[in-house]
């Protein structure tokens, strides 16, 4: 599904990612863990196509096709979804209207007509139930005055609606209490299938108790320094990141 090959990227002459290699197959959940400043969020932004980052070497493939030259919206049309750590507030545009726009823009890019209103409505109802989202919530302005939990739940709601091939969850657990975390994780688990893949980016192991990864990578100083199974996350939780630093020296 996703192949990252020897990826070097940075911002304003500063190297952040220093040779990342990653292979995620359809149906898999991978987790990337690492201390603050290791490049986790940069990696997710670069995969989603944020313009301010410059890729200096390597490549990113989605289903064997390079996406490096694509604009963020084109990557989204190809099935890349990024759940943001800090979603943007848009006063005057309701959650419903925003998601309608996003879906229909994606359909337009694929040469399809707008989704019929009845179908859209049905889908919104199904997906909002899945995430235990109140109807009233859907008519509020996007992210305006949302609590941390509401913002994250709304991100996963959008993911559910857009049905991406590759979903990247960037620090989705931050700012969530245990109930919200469970709802969000439940939602993600229900959306998992043999045809899609999930990349969970997190500082803590907490979320991985709910969204159980097949593979765990540790990112430090722009490089993946260790890869293992889900038990690696527990080990990191217990020992912190310092032992890895020592092991590397």
């Amino acid at each position: 599904m996703l192949t990252v090959k020897n990826l070097y990227a940075g911002i304003e002459e500063k190297d952040i990612l220093k040779g990342i290699n990653l292979e995620i197959k359809a149906g898999e959940v991978h987790a990337i863990m690492g201390p603050n400043g290791s490049g986790k969020s940069t990696l997710s932004s670069v995969i989603a196509g944020k313009e301010e980052y410059e890729v200096t070497d390597g490549d990113i493939f989605l289903n064997e096709e390079s996406i490096l030259e694509m604009d963020p919206e084109e990557r989204a049309h190809e099935g890349v979804f990024l759940s943001f750590q800090y979603p943007v507030e848009i006063p005057g545009v309701t959650v419903t209207n925003f998601i309608k726009t996003a879906i229909n823009q994606t359909r337009k890019a694929k040469g399809l007509e707008d989704m019929p209103a009845s179908e859209m409505l049905k889908m919104i109802r199904e997906k909002s139930e899945l995430l235990e989202i109140d109807r009233k919530f859907l008519s509020r302005s996007l992210n305006v005055g949302f609590s941390g939990g509401e913002k994250k739940r709304n991100e996963i709601f959008q993911m559910a609606m857009l049905e991406p091939k590759l979903a990247i969850l960037d620090e989705t657990d931050s700012g969530l209490d245990i109930d919200a975390l469970r709802i969000v994780a439940n939602g993600v688990n229900k959306l998992r299938s043999e045809d899609n893949a999930v990349l969970v980016i997190t500082h803590y192991q907490r979320l991985l108790d709910y969204i159980v990864p097949d593979v765990v990578h540790v990112l430090m100083d722009g490089k993946i320094v260790k890869t293992g199974g889900k038990e690696l996350a527990h080990e990191l939780e217990e020992k912190g990141y310092d032992w890895l630093k020592e092991e590397l020296v």
Binding site: S45, A48, G49, K50, E51, E52, D71, P72, E73, R75, A76, H77, V80, F81, L82, F84, P87, V88, I90, P91, G92, V93, T94, N97, F98, T101, A102, I103, Q105, T106, A109, Q158, L162
Partner: protein
């Protein structure tokens, strides 16, 4: 001959054409003297530092409309908010057009200033209110000197205008270049309510210069909502002066939507003469090319326990220029004043300019006054967020601009008007997204 000389010398001819027994004959005579002494404002005047009228004053304007132009409703229908029932006061080249208008004297007076100035039954109101709030300064005096027609709205005590009132001034360009000087008077007595929509619209590409003056008088507990749609042709310039006097517990809001024109200058002045008054000033400016929009506001807090809320948003593309000059004066007696002022701007292109100048003069010690001004570009992170949801960059930019302007639209009380403005903004930005409001 300069435009000033022409206006001064033509005034005798103008006065001769009118009734010398008119209650305002002398008022007009004095006003032209003030204009003669002051002339047109120039960049030397502090209040006109960033707006020059020179380019439009050079034109040879026809001061008196020579012939009556006719217009078919179907040709101009789209300039009206036509999906609701309204009273309409329509002028074509400065002359009242009864055919396009729908006035009333049933409980409230919605008619022309010309009737009010010439008919004896209105004389008492004219004596009390006409030219009482307007300042004696160059352009306002020029308007007073030539005041003949415009909208006259009188809401007697306890009455509520049963539908919104549209004031539309069309310029047909049948004269070479036209100078229009409409004069409006709105009097809302105690416990009244009225909504007004005003528009100045040129229908040709010949230059038009409109020097409009409106006096609004809101008595105790009156609620006046005034909406100004400024979306004119590229050769149409407007100086719109609105002077508002408010009394206890009245609420007066003015929303100004500046979406097109050559040079647009809005002078909006509020004088609070009572307690627990609320003054609301809102504006959206969205211009491109070489267009220029200047908002010059004043809120004069004179008595205690009053509020004012100013929120102006501007989006400037290409070589467009904007000015915001917002003055708030809080007198010593005006304790417990709550004055809020905000002016936020987005410059789309490198050559777009905004001069923003908040001025606070506070003489009372127990007040809450806040003001903020921002000038920036569209937020790149926000843009990325929208793009990552599959929304194309162009649409994403539009969505952000819409969101930016939305705080101003949210307080528009007439849903059809709100929808119309939203569509105008969406069209200006060039988006196809069906916004819901």
């Amino acid at each position: 001959m300069s435009l000033k000389d022409k206006l001064v010398s033509s005034h005798i001819v103008f006065q001769d054409s009118l009734d010398p027994d008119s209650p305002i004959y002398d008022v007009r005579g004095n006003a032209i003297k003030t204009f003669e002494a002051e002339g047109f404002p120039s960049k030397k005047d502090e209040a006109w530092k960033y707006t020059s009228l020179n380019s439009i004053l050079k034109k040879d304007y026809n001061i008196f409309p020579t012939k009556k132009s006719t217009l078919d409703f179907k040709d101009v229908e789209h300039y009206f908010i036509n999906d609701i029932d309204t009273y309409n006061i329509v002028f074509v080249d400065g002359i009242f057009n009864a055919h396009l208008s729908s006035t009333t004297h049933d409980g409230i007076d919605v008619c022309t200033m010309n009737s009010a100035l010439t008919k004896s039954k209105y004389q008492q109101i004219i004596d009390v209110y006409f030219n009482k709030i307007a300042k004696e300064e160059s352009l306002t005096s020029l308007n007073t000197a030539y005041a003949r027609d415009g909208a006259y709205i009188y809401i007697p005590k306890g009455k509520v205008a049963d539908k919104p009132i549209q004031i539309i001034h069309f310029a047909t360009g049948s004269q070479e270049a036209s100078l229009l000087q409409p004069r409006n008077l709105i009097v809302a007595e105690e416990n009244t309510e009225v909504q007004i929509i005003e528009r100045h619209q040129s229908l040709s590409d010949s230059p038009t210069f409109t020097n409009s003056v409106t006096e609004v008088y809101a008595a105790k507990r009156a609620i006046v909502d005034y909406y100004k749609i400024q979306n004119d042709k590229l050769d149409a310039s407007l100086v719109d002066t609105t002077e508002i006097e408010q009394h206890g517990e009245s609420i007066v809001s003015v929303h100004t939507f500046s979406l097109g024109g050559n040079i647009t200058r809005n002078n909006l002045n509020y004088y609070q003469k009572g307690e627990r008054i609320d003054s609301i000033l809102k504006g959206v400016t969205l211009i491109e090319g070489k267009q220029h929009v200047d908002h010059n506001t004043l809120v004069h807090h004179i008595e205690p326990n009053c509020e004012s809320h100013q929120d102006y948003k501007g989006i400037f593309a290409e070589n467009a220029t904007g000015v915001f000059n917002g003055k708030v004066v809080v007198e010593k007696e005006a304790q417990k004043t709550n004055a809020y002022q905000s002016n936020n701007n987005i410059l789309i292109d490198d050559k777009a300019t905004i001069n923003s100048k908040p001025q606070l003069e506070i003489f009372a010690d127990d007040v809450r006054c806040s003001h903020g001004c921002t000038i920036g570009q569209l937020d790149e992170s926000a843009l990325f967020y929208l793009q990552s949801r599959g929304i194309a960059k162009k649409e994403a930019r539009a969505l952000l601009m819409y969101a930016f302007a939305n705080t101003v639209l949210s307080s528009v009380k007439i849903p059809q008007l709100k929808q119309r403005i939203t569509k105008l903004i969406a069209k200006k930005i060039g988006v196809s997204i069906g916004f819901e409001i």
